[in-house]
Symmetry: C2
């Protein structure tokens, strides 16, 4: 096993940790962060853990102008036996490099990144909250830092990992949400950056989200940008439906994000011998299934919520209430199993949970 | 006329200015910059001109994660009579706010922005290069600065203007370039952010640009993301063709950028009583016109190059050489007139040139 040289500078002071029941999402950060620099010709260098601190950049740095950036999101949990677990972190760093490819950013050494993450978590271990449903959210990201206004790949980057203790996504148990199908705005199209985890995809989603908020819906369901017929994602999550006993999800088509929770759910359903299919799904089909009483469940999937059941879908001035607005049986079972594997209370036959240390 | 309160702190030291003949694009910046902050509830505040300096931001700042940003680009010129001229700056700040709308960023006061720009230019006036073809490139931009990892519009922003003396785009006179039609990657699609000047559009263009570079083409020609048939833009410029005596350009369709140079060219051609039409243009039509000997000229338009003639177009394994690879008559006339109005050597019947002071 390679040993990586990561320089460590510990913080002289420790910040106050928030109460478990006051945790929000992504607002409070731990005492340390990981940074590594890239310089053309030299490659990635100066891997270091330092006290959490501001980033200082020239105002001409490309990240401020041309959006050349990628990121990841994953979580760490403390088990009842005081183990620290990560959920499939190798998948996150593999995807980071796929995003890097699309954005013309040099690859990061995936093993070094995982090693750096583990060291960082060990240093800030006390920050991992232990209450039910809480976790340590991990945000690795890369930004283009060359001070140059030409439209070209940067010759300098920073790879950074920051950590944030986060509360339970569901304050009072898993709860279905209302979703509006988006007809005006488009998230991504094949040939664009939809499969990459890059800032621009999220910036472009804000407007539709803001408009749907104002109408009382918590997320939008994105349709494809070409025919405006086929289902892509919900908010910043992948989406699944249970129709007449079969679980279906949009196939990887060059515009949706290849979610790690999505992938895990497909593997889990197969493991359970439940029918699951990746294919193109039109809103027309969903409407038809609903009319025939065959639309049994719908849910979004992602790192933040794990499973987010959809209780109501609004499309073409019509409201579809799914499973009487309640969490479906399969949705609940997937949520319980995945969160159980993540926090070590459910057996993990897949080796998805990776122990830190 | 409203007077705006802009606090000024002058730099104690002055940087060395580059030689006129050594100027590149966007690599060197002047002694000062303009900054203004936005805080939810308080609006835009603390408008100030300060010495050019790094920006210091929390690593969780949204600009590093979700790409919520917009920018503009325009130029200042010194005339032979020592006047400083801006080209249609009101159009840039109007478009900045259109981009802000799309990206859920609060509007900037356009008059304040113009006033701030004028004050900044006056302070850094000595930085405006005077040699033929040189100018002062102006980059206003807005970035989301709230340290929060939730996907939502930021509650804090910075609006910044930086200035960079730039060399002539054409070192040895205006020269036609080779362009490859892009068949894999897509720049933008209606419902996305293509009409906004936001980082994500540029980040997404890097990959295609990198691949076309490696094949010896200087830019890509983007087709629409839906049918992959219709012409959108070239590189980060708008595009025009002269076919059988008529000038045509893709109409504003929800995915192309509404270029200020594009708009000026249309107005100029109309002023000259030359036929000009905004409409949908397919590559098939261009190929057909070429085969019939009717494709007379092609050129890109934008702030950096003003006019960039296209000498060769590569599509479907076929090479089309336009006007024998030379700059066309209309392209040259547009270039001479526009740059003449910009630097004060040609009469400006439109009032496009705005004097600073």
């Amino acid at each position: 096993m390679t040993t990586y040289s990561i320089d460590v500078t510990l913080s002289q002071t420790k910040k106050e940790k928030p109460q478990s029941d006051q945790l929000q999402f992504g607002k409070v950060f731990t005492d340390h962060m990981f940074i590594m620099d890239y310089t053309e010709g030299q490659g990635w260098h100066d891997a270091r853990i330092v006290p959490y601190q501001p980033i200082t950049l020239d105002p001409a740095s490309m990240i401020f102008h041309y959006g050349q950036s990628v990121f990841e999101g994953l979580k760490a949990y403390v088990t009842k036996k005081e183990q620290v677990l990560l959920f499939r972190p190798d998948e996150n760093f593999k995807r980071l490099n796929k995003s890097n490819d699309r954005l013309c950013i040099p690859h990061v050494d995936e093993n070094l990144a995982l090693e750096a993450l583990k060291q960082l978590i060990k240093i800030d271990r006390e920050w991992i909250p232990t209450a039910e449903g809480t976790s340590l959210y991990i945000r690795p990201f890369v930004i283009a830092t060359e001070p140059y206004l030409g439209v070209a790949p940067s010759d300098r980057y920073q790879f950074i990992i920051i950590l944030s203790p986060v509360g339970s996504y569901y304050k009072e148990g898993i709860a279905p949400v209302k979703i509006a199908v988006e007809s005006e705005f488009v998230r991504a199209v094949a040939g664009g950056t939809g499969t990459a985890k890059t800032g621009g995809n999220y910036a472009s989603s804000l407007k539709a989200q803001q408009l749907s908020d104002s109408k009382g819906y918590s997320q939008v369901l994105w349709l494809d940008g070409v025919e405006r017929k086929y289902i892509e994602e919900v908010g910043s999550m992948n989406i699944f439906f249970k129709i007449d006993g079969e679980v279906v999800t949009p196939s990887v088509n060059g515009s949706i994000l290849e979610g790690i929770t999505r992938k895990s759910i497909i593997e889990l359903l197969k493991h359970w011998d439940m029918p699951v299919t990746e294919r193109r799904i039109s809103m027309e089909e969903i409407k038809q299934a609903y009319s025939e009483g065959k639309l049994e469940e719908a849910f979004g999937t992602g790192t933040a919520a794990v499973i987010s059941p959809i209780g109501e879908l609004f499309w073409n001035n019509e409201k579809m209430v799914i499973n009487d607005g309640n969490t479906g049986e399969v949705s609940q079972k997937l949520y319980d199993t995945l969160t159980g594997i993540q926090n070590g209370t459910v057996e993990d036959p897949f080796g998805w949970a990776v122990e830190v240390e």
